[in-house]
Amino acid sequence: METKKASIKREESNTYLVLEVGENPIKITLTDDNPNNVKFAFNLILKELKKGLYEFELEDENLDLYNNICIEYLNQLNAEMKVIYSELAEYELTES
């Protein structure tokens, strides 16, 4: 299974979870309640899953609140991606 990099981008106004999916990294805002931002990310994650199962691994040295959030979030997301991949394969929607 492929592992893709996840990182946290801390800026003054906003902090983002950056997921290395496809050609351009996806940024999910941690400090904003924006479902569309999450849906956009999910669309790309789902599209990428069709190419094969992968999971995200957080690369972050800061042991702050954002680190906690992202560890928890990625744990859940990875588990859900695994289930979805098996369903994609079952319905023959994978690209391989």
């Binding site: 309640d33 931002n37 609140l65 859940q76 289930v83």
Partner: protein
């Protein structure tokens, strides 16, 4: 039933082709593949009684073999050929007479006078068939007159023509005529035999044939009576309700003819009522009453079909789902931030680690439980079926059933255990998730700490998109598939070809612009097109944030409520084809086909009024007359009112019913072409000559009589 009165089985004269030689086995084999039921062996100046016996016995089950000879005649210094066919019962005497006549002479140089022939053969109950006119070498009229004066019964003399057309011409000029194969090469006999004269009446013996030559009424009636007939009393005329008509209707061809206005249609209608009252379902077929376009519903107004008829899924659930689907909610990371930013100080809460456990997916375990439960239920039903149907043991060995029962028991135990385990797994997950949710919520209430989100929402979000993708792609795949057209045979247009009613079907896939196509269901084309385009668009936006705006577009289509299944996207285009090309039949062709359709339909009784209307002679002769004859062979009652001699004469009806209007009164006469007479059913008029009346009354009568050479001579 065909007859061949001129057959060679040997090369006798030096000029004879060696291909005239035939061995018994080959002869039997060839005859078996023909419809020839009477055959006369007529070799040149030669009769071989041993070969005659062998051939006769070889085909005895299906063909009569008559003994005969083709003699070289020298009369008035003119050479000609005369066939003499003898009563088969007297073939031994015939052999002796032939031997005496030939007296060992070379067949090439042998010749005999007419007087010598008659002196030698007349006592043997013979038929004489003279080569005539174009059939060379022929007897002239003078020689035939001589023969007429010599023989004891001139009706036993027939003139041999070279083919059916010549025979017809001779007959129409009052000469008794017939023709045979005069076979040159036995390899061609099966094909050649198809053009031989046909015996309409089933002749069972040489004697019966001779009586038919005499037009012996008793013989004719005996043969006719072998076909069943029904005597029907009718009062068919509104103008004279008391005029009684009693008719014999044969299980064969019955022709009703006479001038216009003599009540033929009334008789047909009355016959129809009579048969319907007896429980038959009959109706009088009238030409020109309908057009083919109406009969075949060429506009397709009442045509209906479903996609499932062609093996396609109707996609009812998928269409319904796509109309009502909404976006699944997702969890924003902000919810996690809210939870984690709260300092957990409550000591009990810190100990309750359960709130930190990640929730598990329930859907998979539910799916597994559903699958195994379905399998178990099916096996349980099958097991019940085996137990509840003891008649199974009539068809399957008891040992096998017992064996099956044991295996089923094992399977059911395994499935029961599996179902139990799946149930436990599923309930465990649900319980776990419920506990996590419950504890998180309760802790949140006590501590004011927002609960930790239990899922990101990716699972439901993606499942929803996958379902939309599957549904939309399934529909797109189906609507782009071709459907085999429905072809219904309409009928034959003779040499032009076969007419077929073709229904082309396709699904509207959003790009159909052919105006010939119209919806099969009660749907407009515009919503069909918009629906197909919307589904295609949805299938292309599965991973886009615009997906749900495309679903909104789908729901905003005008009359979207009319499209609920794949069948609602069906389009049809009906037309006729002739030799695979689109064709619009003319009125005449429409009449042809409808009549053909009427005749090919399986019925016991056919009542047909003026089938000749709008039809050409060729079509009547080549298609309709053979079909009518076929019905008669199957002993169907075919009753036809006609003015057309092709039908009234060429079908050689068992029964001709003639309606006559004379001096203000109507008369009904019945008869047939075999007795050549028409007799008044009430005995109030003298009999009439069938041939004369037919020629006078029917359109094309004279020409039609030319064809009657195909029977044994008249």
């Amino acid at each position: 039933m065909k007859i061949d009165i001129h057959v060679h089985t040997k090369k006798v004269k030096s000029g004879d082709a060696p291909t005239r030689n035939i061995e018994k086995e080959k002869f039997v084999e060839i005859l078996r593949d023909t419809d020839v039921n009477i055959l006369a062996i007529t070799n040149h100046n030669h009769f071989d009684s041993q070969q005659y016996e062998e051939f006769r016995d070889g085909v005895a089950s299906h063909c009569q073999i008559w003994p005969g000879i083709e003699l070289d005649v020298l009369e008035n210094e003119k050479r000609s050929h005369l066939i003499v066919i003898c009563n088969p019962k007297k073939y031994k005497e015939f052999e002796k007479a032939v031997a005496k006549t030939l007296n060992g002479e070379n067949p090439d140089s042998f010749s005999i006078s007419l007087k010598e022939i008659v002196d030698e053969f007349d006592a043997l109950d013979c038929i004489y068939i003279a080569h005539y006119f174009v059939k060379k070498p022929n007897l002239g009229d003078r020689e035939i007159d001589m023969l007429n004066n010599l023989v004891s019964n001139p009706k036993r003399i027939l003139k041999e023509a070279s083919n059916s057309i010549s025979a017809g011409i001779y007959i129409s000029h009052g000469h008794n005529s017939i023709y045979g194969s005069d076979i040159q090469n036995w390899e061609n006999y099966i094909e050649q035999s198809q053009n031989l004269p046909e015996l309409r009446l089933p002749v069972e013996s040489f004697e019966q044939f001779c009586l038919l030559l005499e037009k012996d009424e008793a013989t004719i009636n005996t043969i006719l009576d072998k076909k069943s007939k029904e005597t029907i009393e009718l009062f068919p005329f509104k103008s004279d309700p008391f005029e009684r008509v009693v008719l014999d209707i044969y299980s064969d061809i019955n022709i009703l003819f006479g001038s216009k206005g003599t009540g033929k249609t009334d008789i047909l209608e009355s016959l129809s009522k009579h048969y319907n009252s007896k429980g038959h379902k009959t109706a009088v077929y009238k030409s020109n009453e309908n057009h083919l376009n109406t009969v075949f519903d060429i506009k397709g107004n009442s045509f209906n079909c479903n996609a499932s008829d062609f093996g396609f899924d109707e996609c009812i659930d998928e269409i319904k789902f796509l109309k009502i689907v909404t976006e699944e909610k997702v969890t924003t990371l902000n919810k996690y931030a809210l939870h984690f930013s709260f300092q957990e100080t409550n000591k009990i809460s810190q100990k309750l680690k359960i709130k930190n456990i990640t929730q598990e997916d329930e859907v998979q375990s539910e799916k597994i439980l559903g699958e195994i439960s379905d399998i178990r239920n099916n096996f349980l039903s099958f097991n019940e079926y085996l137990k509840d149907n003891p008649e199974i043991t009539k068809y399957i060995d008891v040992e096998l059933i017992i064996e099956l029962g044991l295996i089923l028991e094992k399977i059911l135990i395994q499935l029961k255990n599996g179902t139990e385990q799946s149930f436990i797994d599923n309930k465990s997950i649900k319980l776990l998730n419920s506990i996590i949710f419950c504890f998180s919520n309760e802790i949140a209430k006590k501590t004011n700490q927002p609960p930790k989100p239990t899922k990101t929402g990716f699972l439901e979000y993606s499942r929803n998109r996958i379902k939309i993708e599957r549904a939309s792609k399934k529909i797109v795949k189906i609507i782009n598939q071709p459907i085999n057209p429905i072809e219904e045979y309409a009928g034959s247009l003779g040499e032009k070809g076969e007419l077929v009613c073709k229904t082309n079907l396709l699904f509207h896939n959003g790009s159909i612009s052919n105006g010939d196509y119209s919806p099969v269901k009660n749907v407009f084309k515009t919503p069909q097109k918009d629906f197909a385009n919307a589904i295609v668009s949805i299938s292309k936006h599965i991973h886009s944030n615009e997906l749900f705006s495309k679903i909104t577009d789908l729901n905003e289509i005008e009359n979207i409520g009319t499209i609920n299944s794949i069948s609602d996207l069906l389009l049809k285009y009906r037309h006729f084809t002739l030799n695979s090309t689109i064709y619009s039949p003319s009125n005449g062709e429409s009449s042809m086909i409808l009549l053909h359709k009427e005749l090919v339909e399986e019925k016991d009784i056919y009542l047909i009024d003026e089938p000749e209307k709008s039809l050409g002679n060729d079509y009547i002769n080549d298609v309709i007359v053979p079909l009518i004859k076929e019905k008669s062979l199957l002993s169907k009652k075919v009753i036809i009112a006609t003015h057309d001699a092709n039908i009234a004469v060429r079908t050689l009806p068992y029964n001709s019913i003639y309606r006559l209007h004379d001096k203000g009164k109507h008369f009904t006469l019945t008869g047939n072409p075999f007795s050549n007479s028409l007799n008044c059913i009430n005995g109030s008029r003298p009999s009439l000559d069938w041939k004369e009346i037919s020629m006078k009354t029917l359109e094309g009568g004279k020409e039609a009589f030319g064809e009657r050479g195909k029977i044994y001579g008249n």
